[in-house]
Amino acid sequence: MSSAAIALMVISLVVLWGGLAASIVVIVRRPDRTDWPDGWEQHEDGAGDRPDEPVEHDT
């Protein structure tokens, strides 16, 4: 293989597999938010997801 071909192969692998590794590290370190916007409690257990199910608000 030519040196240019080897270099491009290595760069491609490093960038794409490196990108994958980095994104896995990020999601493992912080899988989800801890500070959710207001009102999430009303939607636990899929409440409000069914097409025919109105959501009742207490405010």
Partner: protein, 520 residues
């Protein structure tokens, strides 16, 4: 009886993926398909070799990932498959959702046939049944094409049992998995098949690297031709590759995201999905070109002189020839075609799930009813159109129009309608940032509102001009009008008819969370 009173059918509670891993593996399983194995290497080779990585990465970051995030935001915020989610954004937008469902239906009908071919060849691998002349075996003995050269007659009902039987198996398996549900069917299959696919294909790639001539193949794939960077067609090829490979713009990722619980991270899993798909693609390219280098070495020719380096020709004509030359050929043939079956099947499940979800939501069908009804109708159409002696030509034509016209039009319409007409992309960005750990900035809005649709429009125009001026594969003009443009017309008609049909459940009572400005 009023319209509201008549909508009495009780839908099942919305299904959910069991967690982050299940969602990521299912989304990767959907994105990693046949195109990763047989399309990317050929496209890279023909568009600058190693230099292609530059436009490819730019396209991934500026169109592939941004449109993937847009799909996630629509499905997750509006809690539905494509028609329901779009309707909740704006009532008349439902037709775009049905257009995407129609695309998925058409693709599923022929995509299953390719998996059936791969299943047959998986079996043939064990005794290398294709012999020395793999081209004649595939087109003649296996597909029994009515007229290999000129495709005349253009349509027959002469069924080919060697295709029909595996095709029936593929559809039965699809119905069974989808009937089991998102968590117990779809997710579990992906949890098993994704690691198996990596293991099987990984073994094949490592073996290919040690074959004589492998270095020549890799040299051909990665030697950069920097001059192509100035060629707009190379950039269009890069955008086109990243767009098609990520399964964006036609409802799959909208549907999958709708099965995530409300409090779920979207952007970080999205990056894992996008980079997994691209990493697998480059990995597959290395395996394929190492193998092609070996084949060229055995035949005493240069890699550039080989025919059939992409698409079904690569898989079903060139690769069998390569496997026949390899030490332990039957084992590696089985690994290759087994990988095709697994990659294709995971993608097929995601495509059919789009159709199933849409019918469940609009007509109040249970998931079992939807799986069986849609599966049976699709299977019958698959058999009638594509398991005959004229199936290959029909498949090739419908695939060209459904993908290059249908999907591209769908994605442009989504970006333009949400970004320019309804101006809802800031709401989508707000949603992504409210639930995700990696925020998206204004660059994202620019990519989905300006850059993405402009590049997609360039792709579309260039393809339409080519199809109108040059036709396709030398097929008869009337045939392309009926099977190609006719498919596009069918997609549009199906979208309007299905939109006009009455909802069996109330679709519009919906609480959007988190609240954006004064809008819920």
């Amino acid at each position: 009886m009023s319209d509201a009173q008549s909508r009495t059918a009780e839908p099942e509670k919305r299904e959910e993926f069991s967690g982050q891993l299940g969602f990521i593996l299912s989304a990767v399983g959907s994105a990693v398909g046949l195109g990763n194995i047989w399309r990317f290497p050929g496209v890279a080779y023909e568009n600058g070799g190693g230099a292609f990585i530059v436009p490819y990465l730019v396209a991934l970051l500026t169109a592939g990932i941004p449109i993937l995030f847009l799909d996630y935001a629509v499905g997750h915020r509006f809690r539905g498959g494509a028609p329901l989610a779009f309707r909740r954004i704006k009532r008349w937008l439902e037709s775009l959702g049905w257009f995407q469902v129609a695309i998925c239906f058409v693709i599923a009908v022929y995509y299953a046939v390719i998996i059936a071919w791969a299943l047959s060849f998986f079996g043939y691998s064990f005794d290398l049944r294709w012999g020395d002349d793999t081209v004649s075996f595939f087109t003649g003995e296996y597909l029994q094409l009515a007229d290999v050269g000129g495709a005349d007659p253009w349509f027959t009902l002469d069924f080919v049992p060697a295709v029909l039987i595996p095709l029936a198996i593929v559809w039965i398996a699809t119905i069974a998995v989808l009937a089991a549900g998102v968590a117990k069917g779809l997710e579990k299959i992906n949890l098993v098949f994704m690691p198996l696919l990596l293991l099987a294909f990984g073994t094949l790639v490592v073996r290919a690297l040690f074959l004589p001539g492998a270095a020549d193949g890799l040299n051909a794939l990665f030697t950069p031709d920097w001059a192509v960077m100035a060629d707009p067609n190379v950039w269009i090829a890069a955008y086109s590759q990243t767009f098609f490979t990520l399964s964006v713009g036609f409802g799959i990722m909208i549907t999958y995201a709708s099965y995530r619980r409300r409090r779920a991270n979207l952007t970080s899993p999205g990056l894992v999905v996008a980079f997994s798909n691209s990493a697998f693609e480059v990995f597959a390219g290395i395996g394929v070109f190492a193998g092609l280098g070996f084949l060229a070495h055995q035949e005493g020719v240069g890699v550039a002189e080989l025919d059939g380096i992409s698409g079904p020709t690569l898989a079903f004509m060139t690769f069998p020839a390569l496997v026949s030359e390899m030490p332990a050929g039957p084992l590696f043939g089985a690994l290759f075609f087994g990988s095709l079956v697994m990659a294709g099947f995971m993608s097929l499940l995601s495509i059919v799930q789009v159709v199933s979800a849409a019918f469940q939501e609009k007509f109040g069908w249970s998931r079992r009813q939807a799986s069986v009804r849609i599966g049976v109708v699709s299977a019958v159409l698959s058999v009638l159109a594509f398991s005959t002696t004229t199936g290959l030509v029909a498949l090739d034509t419908v695939d060209q129009w459904a993908n290059n016209i249908g999907i591209v039009v769908s994605a442009i319409a989504m970006c333009v309608l949400l970004g320019w007409v309804l101006r809802r992309t800031e709401e989508m960005r707000f949603h992504l940032n409210a639930v995700s750990t990696i925020p998206v900035g204004r660059w994202w809005t620019f990519c989905v509102v300006v850059l993405g649709p402009v590049v997609l429009a360039a792709m579309l125009v260039s393809r339409i001009v080519s199809l109108v001026q040059d036709g396709y594969e030398g097929y008869a003009g009337w045939y392309l009008v009926v099977m190609g443009w006719g498919t596009v017309v069918l997609l549009v008609v199906a979208a309007f008819v299905l939109t006009r049909m009455r909802w069996r459940v109330e679709p519009d009572v919906h609480d959007t969370w988190p609240r954006f400005g004064g809008r819920s």
